[in-house]
Symmetry: C2
Subunit: 532 residues, 2 copies
């Protein structure tokens, strides 16, 4: 057990042992119980965290940009400084392979640094200014300025499948802190030690920057009940969540039932349809095999436990499609099961696959080898017809893990019709050759209605963290299609506009002072004016 | 009765008589029933409107900017072309005076033209582009572009108190149409003829621009039930509403309970606190009288039926405050009651004032004269102490109409404490002299937490429609503090981002094509780049 793990929540800089039961992380490959045990807090302890976050808000929300950006960079540096101990703990708690963990740590620190650059640039403050026109008739035009302020303390829930990039210092935390919102983070109980290591890194950054300690708290609590309490806490002004549809919907309901409702940004459920047009399969055998291999890699990477895993792939009927599906089966057969995150996730996957396999007309395309233990099941790909997809809602359900369903279709009209039956998705992908463009063009606007990101000739796994990314989409992919949880646009989730009318310069906040001390780009009388 | 009023809903360009009961407008000054009667539609007729809106979406949402902007301008021109007939009908149905109606018509057509300029500029499309880096290691960086698309058909509910600017062609309709969303408009039954005249103007503009007729429908229906049905209709993707807290909350609940929840933008309830600091009352008697007069003008204009009417005014105790309050009483006594919008609004106002007057410690400051009829009650101003305000929730309630409550406070600490007890507000106003700045400065961040707009040395009524305005604020002022219902930022309510990864140019929508055919400002690798 790492020397510095305490098994306690970190509330506003203090180690706070919980009054509730103790949970442990487990090595999903071996079942081994990992020390230390983590004591779960109760609701009164939760209130300490939310009250401290509310206390931290006035100073943190008005932090000068350079100090604010440096704070985010300092979190990144502290995470890197932990070194191998962190990677080892992630691997022990999640079963994820080292290369993936290294990649994910890189993504986590890079997105903190990306948000630091966003804080320095300051466009997210949304400054607008319509200057006074004193001699306007019949009434003088007042001076009105606008900027966006941070909403307030944000509750963030860690995802099981990204113990770093969607967990304690992940995208929701980074974007909320970048917006100027204190964060109360509910650890995922499947990787408590990883969470504590990262929580310590943030806590240290808060202390080093001399910020109010309530800027960040990490809590361990009983999942559903503390989640509801956190989303219902009057000090909390927004919720970020990545996880199951059931849990996300229950947070949405709790937030809507509050005396003062708050926004919930929940990323939940997606099967990420992929559409092969006929022309793209007119390749030589090697290229078709490579395409099939890329599909299987996307299905089985991270044991399929990715929000954007391609769970549904439309392939034309006929010879070219048959050849591709055969190649998919061959590629699948080469893969060995990898360790899943937890025994219960594995159990759900097995049930989902069993249910799918039992549906009328669903056939096995290919299955890999069982992994080295029960918790590493054999990946599998199935197929069914477009008609079966149309008529059987079971074929629309997400199976979280390394499984995928090929749908064989007869005409592009089938694709439009199938798309209209889909629920909201994070991604939708088309595979097209130039000869397919005319047929694919009408599908693109339909896909826009169903997904947050549309890809061509690639696979949806592997989400870039940049300015243009959308990791969002219509319900149930997310609770709020107007936003993204990955990329710099995510900061806008935690802001709201305030206008100032005829306020004396002395009383205006820095971002809207006339002499623009923060060098912000501004919209003056509607026109963007860039600084520097 | 105007020649061209039909008493029917206007569904996708067609006059559709309702199958339900008939309602009439009434002249609130005389009680006279106004012809024609309007037949209310049922839910199957409602579905015609929402289905037509969904059909109109694909073409309307992708309309080329110049055609889109011209369409909005054509609505404005058509409204102006109706001329005196419209003003006469508004006055007959609402009792509002001619000057107010003329002003409101100007605001309505100006905001349509302002949104036309927003459509031409195109910044609301939010274009972002992170170009490909093919030689990035270990993996090539894909090309990712982002733009915002219109959500889909929007349901808008007309407000009673702005029969033009917050009604059929008002701010919600203008911003939704500008975003590219078809609109299904539920008329307010208190001004059905006004609604039909404006609805015809929009319908004509739709036809003249050769748009799909489902771009706009105007429906008359039984308030609560058709409202719930509209907010629950699967084709509807967002709701705009201005009205009572009870009705707004019921729409929020209906939208949250849908299979696919949708955003509700409801502007509901606000008492618009005003804070006088001591220094500002150190004026000569004439200036104090002018200040008192300005207060009473803001309280009583439009019979007080404005969302931003100052219902709560904090005045320091002591001699200077006494002198001001006396002047307020004198100014109030000079005012005569004006016609209220409807008998039921007047009745609610009377009940609210009676309840307020009956509270312990509440005293009359001044009362005007009764108006020429029952529906034009005497404006009234009351006062109470800060302690009474602290302890009695009745003193926090909105009274919609010409009444206001002065709270006498002892120290600036009272103001901070009172602010923290306030619910969310559309506006908060400070009256300050330079000598007050030091005391006022700490209040400003507290007011930011409670209001969407902060004013100094003015009155909150009279909302500018421009780029920097925020007509919004925390619940219950609105259902969603992240937005505004007035000003150009309002367009953002009806959009969501979509990303395109490695799509061939041939399949990309116009706004994100590399050669930028719409000349849009774009964020390239995170940096704003302005076009012309």
């Amino acid at each position: 057990m790492p020397q510095n793990l305490t098994g306690s929540s970190l509330i506003a800089g203090q180690q706070v042992p919980g009054t509730g039961r103790t949970v442990h992380g487990h090595n999903p490959a071996t079942g081994e119980q990992l020390e230390p045990g983590y004591t779960l807090i109760d609701e009164s302890q939760l209130s300490q965290a939310t009250a401290a976050a509310a206390e931290a808000y006035p100073s943190f929300s008005t932090l000068e940009p350079e100090a604010h950006a440096s704070f985010l960079e300092s979190i990144a540096a502290n995470i890197e400084a932990v070194g191998q101990e962190l990677a080892a703990r992630v691997m022990a708690e999640t079963g994820l392979p080292e290369a993936r963990v290294t990649m994910e740590r890189g993504r986590t620190v890079n997105q903190l640094r990306l948000f630091a650059s966003v804080v320095r640039a300051g466009d997210f403050r949304g400054v607008r200014w319509d200057p006074a026109i004193p001699d306007r008739t019949p009434l003088p035009r007042p001076d009105i300025r606008q900027r966006r302020i941070p909403l307030g303390p944000v509750a963030v829930f860690g995802a099981s499948n990204f113990p770093l990039a969607f967990s304690v210092a992940g995208g929701d935390t980074a974007s909320a802190l970048a917006a100027g919102c204190p964060v109360v983070f509910k650890a995922h109980n499947a990787h408590p030690g990883t969470s504590e290591i990262v929580g310590q890194a943030i806590t240290q950054a808060v202390a080093d920057a001399d910020l109010h300690p309530g800027v960040f708290s990490l809590i361990y609590g009983p999942g559903a009940s503390i989640g509801q309490a956190l989303a219902s806490d009057p000090a909390i002004t927004a919720v970020g969540f990545t996880g199951s549809r059931a849990a996300g919907v229950s947070l949405m309901q709790a937030a809507a039932a509050r005396e003062v409702p708050i926004p919930v940004y929940a990323e939940m459920s997606s099967i990420n349809p992929v559409f092969f047009f006929p022309g793209v399969l007119e390749k030589n055998d090697d290229d078709v095999a490579a395409l099939a291999q890329a599909y299987i890699t996307s299905v089985t990477g991270s044991s399929g436990q990715l929000c954007t895993q391609p769970g549904l792939v439309f392939v034309p009927s006929g010879t070219a499609g048959d050849r591709f599906v055969t190649a998919v089966g061959e590629a699948a057969a080469q893969v060995e099961g990898q360790t899943m995150l937890t025994a219960s996730i594995c159990q759900s996957w097995k049930q989902g696959v069993e249910q799918l396999a039992a549906q009328t007309g669903v056939e096995l395309v290919g299955r890999g080898a069982e992994g080295p233990h029960d918790n590493a099941p054999a990946p599998a790909v199935y197929q069914a017809s477009a008609e079966q997809f149309r008529n059987n809602p079971v074929l629309h359900e997400e199976i979280f893990g390394a499984a995928s369903l090929v749908i064989r279709y007869d005409s592009p009209a089938d694709l439009a019709e199938a798309t209209q039956r889909l629920e909201g998705q994070l991604t939708a992908t088309i595979h097209v050759a130039e000869s397919d463009y005319a047929q694919a063009a009408p599908l693109v606007p339909l896909l826009e209605q169903k997904a947050g990101r549309i890809l061509a000739n690639g696979w949806p796994t592997g989400v870039e963290v940049n300015h243009a990314m959308v990791h969002g989409g219509p319900f149930p992919a997310t609770s709020d299609s107007r936003t993204t949880s990955v990329g710099t646009l995510a900061i806008e989730r935690f802001l709201r506009p305030v206008a100032y009318q005829n306020l004396p310069e002395e009383l205006l906040p820095e971002p809207v002072k006339a002499d623009n001390p923060w060098n912000l780009n501004r919209r003056i009388d509607g026109d963007l004016q860039l600084e520097s």
